[in-house]
Amino acid sequence: MKKVLRIASISVFALFFGFPLYWVATMSVKPKVEENPPGIVVWHPESPTLTNFKDVLGINNANDNPFATTDFSALTPLKNSFLAAGGGTLLALLVGIFAAYGIARFRAGGAQLPFQILQLRMFPPAAVVIPLYFMFVYLHLWNTLEGLIIIYGAITFPFVVWLMRSFFQDVPREISEAAIVDGCTQWGAFFKAVLPQVKGGLAATALFVFILNWSDFLIVLVMTQDKWTTAPLFLSTMSGGSGGQEYGHQAALAVLLILPPAILGLSIQKYLVRGLTFGAIKR
């Protein structure tokens, strides 16, 4: 009896959490007529098709492809997403790893520095981008890849510091001291002795930051236009020639947007809890 109840409750949860994903996945393979017909709900695709994906990726040049005529498929936004998220991740890591080590090993910047850094993540980006917007316009960084990368790097930097700090703290102090005794400089000890100890954590941090940047919508909404639009923003502005909703096409792009973080996220499942809690819960 207890077991039945348990399985029943798990099933209710499964339905609630699974259904939205089922809906977007099936929507992406629905032909136009099944997308959102007035008055009826098409629960499962009657004649599944890959047209939506081909259209969105600009592979399909048929006349009924709304994105063939505008010469603007989701390909460019997807590429922009990869470039901006990747660049932002590199910047955040480059700056963040050193800061994390300095804080963990030397308590550099005093006890307040980690606080100040994490505080950055608590501020609503919607407020922070207001002065950044006209500052970037003035510096000619607005609507550029460099501009996006700088903001992405800066916004995910606190995350790198806190997560990497927790990994560095796990490395015994003796390891770097031994390397120094063996004739390494502090820098040499960091690169040759300490960094290899946190390889796993470093990889997980990198993937985390990439996912965070990949998921951005607000920054790119304020900081770019057309040319450097990334995929999430493109998704929200997609509409057909008639200006109506393009559920099928949007769902296809949605699926393409979900896949990279889902795959990356599951590959670092071991570090998920630690990452999501800024290194507070080590699991």
Binding site: F13, R105, A127, F134, F217
Partner: protein, 342 residues
């Protein structure tokens, strides 16, 4: 530099010598690039925001922000904010969304974690299944729920099965429903995070104490309220803080589902900032309001970060042990007594 150590046990500190030691210098070098980045992206814009906040500047008429002083108006932006109904309603809406979503996500997440804590074949796969919503780009989850909440959409369709007649709720265009639509989307996406954090805590519960309580006949409820909850407390706290602080910033799904509307029905602070600049073009006022909120938040953030910082220096077991520090012996006996009485 502050002399008060906020983290009492951050491991052995480097030995301090008189004056600036070599290792201090190296440490400073390590953090320097990060500090420069913060100056560029935080300090500099913050100063600019303070300046613009004293003006009624807008870029629309072509003046650069250097010349904002021409529309100088001191504190009128700030006084306007304090008297603005729209601002306060955005504040309360943000608080409402934060409180409701955090609470529901914590309860659902905890329930699901309790349901899945015992091992069974295929548990790994079930776990992955429940983690998926969290991996969805928030803007995409907004789009998904926009589809689901259409009047002809599947949610009304599902409701029509269990409710007599056709359900035609205007989820996203009815002012009283829209905010719930937005919250449901957030709950769907982020309950998995709570679930994952709680599950890792539940799995790490000290077995012997749990077993002792069980063998000695403590029922589920005494075990739950007197052992599990107290030990999980630090983890609950961290999860709630982290979620609350994210929900406070909520933006992407709202913009996609409702643009803050209908009217201002789903306009939280983030959406309010966005609309002030991109719709009303009131940049000076937006800076003033943003600064007010940031000042309030930095006070809150200081308190919120403490438990996270404390936890970073401890293993999960130590963390949970600390939660149960004043608990163990008597609490277990209590639990057992209660179980025996039942």
């Amino acid at each position: 530099m502050s002399s008060e150590p906020l983290a009492p046990n951050t491991g052995p500190a480097p030995r301090r010598r008189a004056g600036i030691s070599r290792s201090d210098k190296i440490g400073a070098l390590f953090v320097l690039p990060g500090q420069l980045l913060m100056v560029f992206i935080v300090l500099f814009p913050a100063l600019v925001a303070v300046y613009i906040g004293f003006t009624e500047w807008t870029p629309i008429n072509g003046t650069t922000f250097w010349h904002a002083y021409k529309n100088w108006h001191w504190f009128s932006g700030y006084t306007e904010a304090f008297g603005s109904g729209e601002f306060w309603s955005a504040v309360w809406r943000t608080v409402l969304i934060t409180v409701v979503c955090t609470f529901v996500e914590a309860v659902l997440g905890f329930t699901l974690a309790m349901l899945l804590v015992k091992d069974f074949p295929g548990r790994g796969l079930v776990m992955v299944y429940f983690l998926l919503p969290m991996m969805v780009v928030p803007a995409v989850s907004g789009f998904i729920f926009q589809m689901l909440f259409q009047v002809d959409g599947p949610i009304n369709g599902l409701l029509s099965f269990i409710w007599p007649g056709d359900v035609t709720l205007q989820w996203l265009s009815d002012p009283s429903l829209a905010i719930w639509g937005v919250m449901i989307a957030d709950i769907w996406q982020w309950t998995p995070l709570m679930f994952l954090i709680f599950l890792s805590g539940l799995v790490a519960l000290p077995e012997d104490q749990m077993n002792a309580a069980r063998i000695l006949g403590a029922g589920f409820w005494p075990q739950f309220t007197r052992l599990i909850i107290p030990m999980m407390r630090p983890i609950l706290l961290i999860a709630v803080i982290i979620r609350a602080m994210e929900i406070f910033k909520l933006f992407d799904p709202i913009i996609i589902m409702t643009q803050g509307g209908p009217g201002t029905a789903t306009q939280n602070l983030s959406v309010y900032f966005y609309r002030l600049t991109s719709v009303s073009g009131r940049w000076g006022y937006a800076c003033a309001v943003a600064l007010l909120v940031l000042i309030a938040l930095s006070i809150a953030a200081k308190q919120a970060i403490k438990p996270i910082e404390r936890a970073q220096n401890e293993s999960l077991e130590e963390l949970m042990g600390a939660g149960a520090e004043d608990v163990p012996a008597e609490r277990i006996e209590d639990a057992i007594d209660a179980g025996a009485r039942a």
